[in-house]
Each structure stands twice: as C-alpha cells, then as structure tokens.
Symmetry: C2
C-alpha cells in the first residue's frame, strides 16, 4: 500500500487565516507536507532564493512552459506571470508528501479538470460579521477601502460550493488539526483504496478455490 | 450552526474488528456517539432489557412497523425479524449524536437510498492472509469450517466499492482514532455546510450594498 501524497488546494477569504494554516501544517508535520513552489517572471527580491520562494523565469521561458504544458495552472498579474510547475508537484507527491497550493477558485477548478483527485478546501471565518471586522482592521481604514475588501470577499467565494470541504476557522489551533485530519481521512476514501480492496478480494477468492489454504 | 449527528454504517469482514471499533468509539466519546438499537421478534435472553439491547416486538407489531414504514431496514434470520427503527435513530441524530449501525452491505444500500447523506465505512484487516489467519482461529477448526468462513468473507465484501471509506484495521487503537476523525471530518464536507456558506455570502452581499456597514 505505498501511496502517493495528495494534491490539496487551500482557498478562502482574505482574512480567513488560510496562509497561517498552511504554514502551521508545514511546521507541525514537516514530513507529511510540502508547499508548492511557483514559477514567476517577476524579479527576485532581496533574500529570495531560486527554488525556495520561487522558480524565477524569463518571460520566454515561462511562455515555453505554458506551451509545453508544464504548468498546472497559471495567471498573469499586472506584467508578470505566476504559475505552478507540474514537475515539482509530481516529485513531491511521489515522495509521499501532501502538496498544498494556496490559489484562488478559478485556478483550483483548472487543476481539478486535469487531476480529478485534487482535494479542494475552502477556509472561512465563522461569520460574515467576523470577516468584516477583520477586513476593517483597527478602525484605521476608510469606508471605501473596507467596501472594496468586502466586494473582493464576495468574489473570492464565488463558486466555492463545488469544493470538497468548508473549514470554519474559529480557533486557529483546532482548525489546523481539523485540516490535517481531513487530509489524513481522505487517504482512506474508497475511491483511493480500490486497489487495496480488489487485492484482498482476489486473494480471498484464491483461498476459497482451495488453491492456497 | 447547530447540526444534527451523522448516520454511519459500519460494515466489514467478520474478524475485521468492526464490533470492537464501535464499542471503543462509544466508550471513548460517549457524548458524540449512540448505537442504534434494533427491534426484534426474538425472545429476550437473560440479562437483556427492553430498549437497551433490543426493542422486543411481537411478530404482529413488527409486521405493522414494516407496513407503516417505521424501519430503516430489516431482515429475517431463521424465524425472527430484526430491523432498525427510524424513530430512535432520528431522536439520537437530533440530539447531535452520531448514530452507528453495524449492518451488512445490502441493508446499508437500502438505508442510503432513503438517506443519501448516510456515511458508509467498510473495515478490513490489512491483508487477506491476516484475515484468513483470524478466521482459522487457533488451529482448532476443520478445513471445512475455514473454507466456509472464507466463502462468507467473499460475500461480505461484495459491493463494498460503493462505500465512502475503506478503513484498514492494522492497529486497533489507531484505527478507532482514524474512524473517529473520518466522522469528524465528514461534518465539514461542503455538501453538509452549504447553509453556512450561503449565509455568509448573503450577509457579505448585504454589507457590500452598504446597508449594514
């Protein structure tokens, strides 16, 4: 029963704590998780290392990766491209690491089209009111800023109903453990263990035939 | 977010340890689980109490329960009927208990037809060989007995591919915790939390309209 890791997408509202949940999983269970490292055409900033924060690419290299279908998903922000290289993800999954991608819903759906077994988790604060309070910060933001953040939150949740799980982040510590256990549990889903049960059933039938008692 | 408990079916090979897993869940987490109590037409044995081991019914009462659709599923063994009363299960679910039924695949599928949200778990030893050794007992059984137990095992697994989870019982303690976490995780499935996310989204839209900032 040597199994690959799972590919996991963590999406959620800005202010839902999804980034912290991801960091905590990596720090609590470093043997079990790997972050996906993105490729980007933007310039490295001070302290950023190739293959640690990002794989830094020229625009030509990036366009070639797109052309050769080497990216799970990609998007363009302002003048730069960002994407998820397949090769790195595949390598980590084979090393039995669960690979977590923190991306938005549109990218997640593209990935699921290619890899239907991808696990999609959406993180939300316990209520819209709590989210509003977090987005409002410490009362230093203008009404316009808060309004635009709320409008963005509505967009961020658009289509999240197709996700597999809704994780309510009330208490960070409990939430990290919940996400970890969701991922552990998913490994036992029948759809992921059909080989195991098939093998047991075939072996049992051999025994019944009396060939190997 | 007041949620009902989940209805859970635990099936598996004889010798898989499913009965022990169920008892352990009830003893470790008595607030979270309830066993389903079956109705039966057989006579109470010494020490059995009405409403504890079984709800004892006359054949006429039982047939009336069938007729009035008061049973989730039922079966006849030899001269007696056994069945799962809906009323008791419903009561426990409303009290937020997860109700566990230990039944075979055919009964499980009937229940899922009526309650599609029922969670189906199938328990197996790690391998056919280990199962065979358990069924063979301490070497005191005849070849014929072992053969008939193995043949029964093949039947017990027939159709289990439609179950939600395959739980491999290698180490009992770890397995009980795995089942517990599968059930906890299932509560966070998006399909069970559509009301929650809908409410948050609607509230956010109200905020964006500026009605309640």
């Amino acid at each position: 029963m040597r199994e690959n890791g799972l590919l996991i997408v963590l999406s959620g509202f800005s202010g839902s704590g999804k980034g912290t949940i991801m960091k905590e999983l990596l720090s609590r269970y470093p043997e079990q998780y790997a972050l996906s490292i993105s490729a980007t055409t933007r310039q490295p900033r001070a302290g950023e290392a190739e293959g640690r924060e990002y794989f830094f690419k020229t625009k030509e290299e990036f366009l070639r990766m797109i052309e050769q279908d080497e990216l799970l998903e990609y998007a363009q922000y302002v003048d730069n491209y960002y994407g998820t290289p397949k090769a790195y993800v595949r390598e980590q999954l084979k090393a039995r690491k669960n690979v977590i991608l923190e991306i938005e819903i549109q990218g997640a759906l593209k990935i699921r089209e290619q890899f239907p077994e991808t696990l999609l988790l959406f993180v939300t604060p316990p209520s819209a009111e709590i989210l509003k309070d977090r987005l409002a910060g410490r009362g230093t933001e203008t009404k316009e800023v808060i309004h635009s953040r709320l409008a963005r939150a509505v967009e961020e949740a658009d289509g999240c109903e197709v996700y597999d799980y809704l994780v309510v982040n009330d208490d960070l510590d409990a939430c990290v453990e919940e996400v970890h256990h969701i991922i552990l549990s998913e490994r036992s889903r029948m759809a992921r263990r059909l080989d195991t049960i098939e093998e047991i059933k075939n072996q049992l039938k051999q025994y019944v035939k009396g060939e190997e008692i």
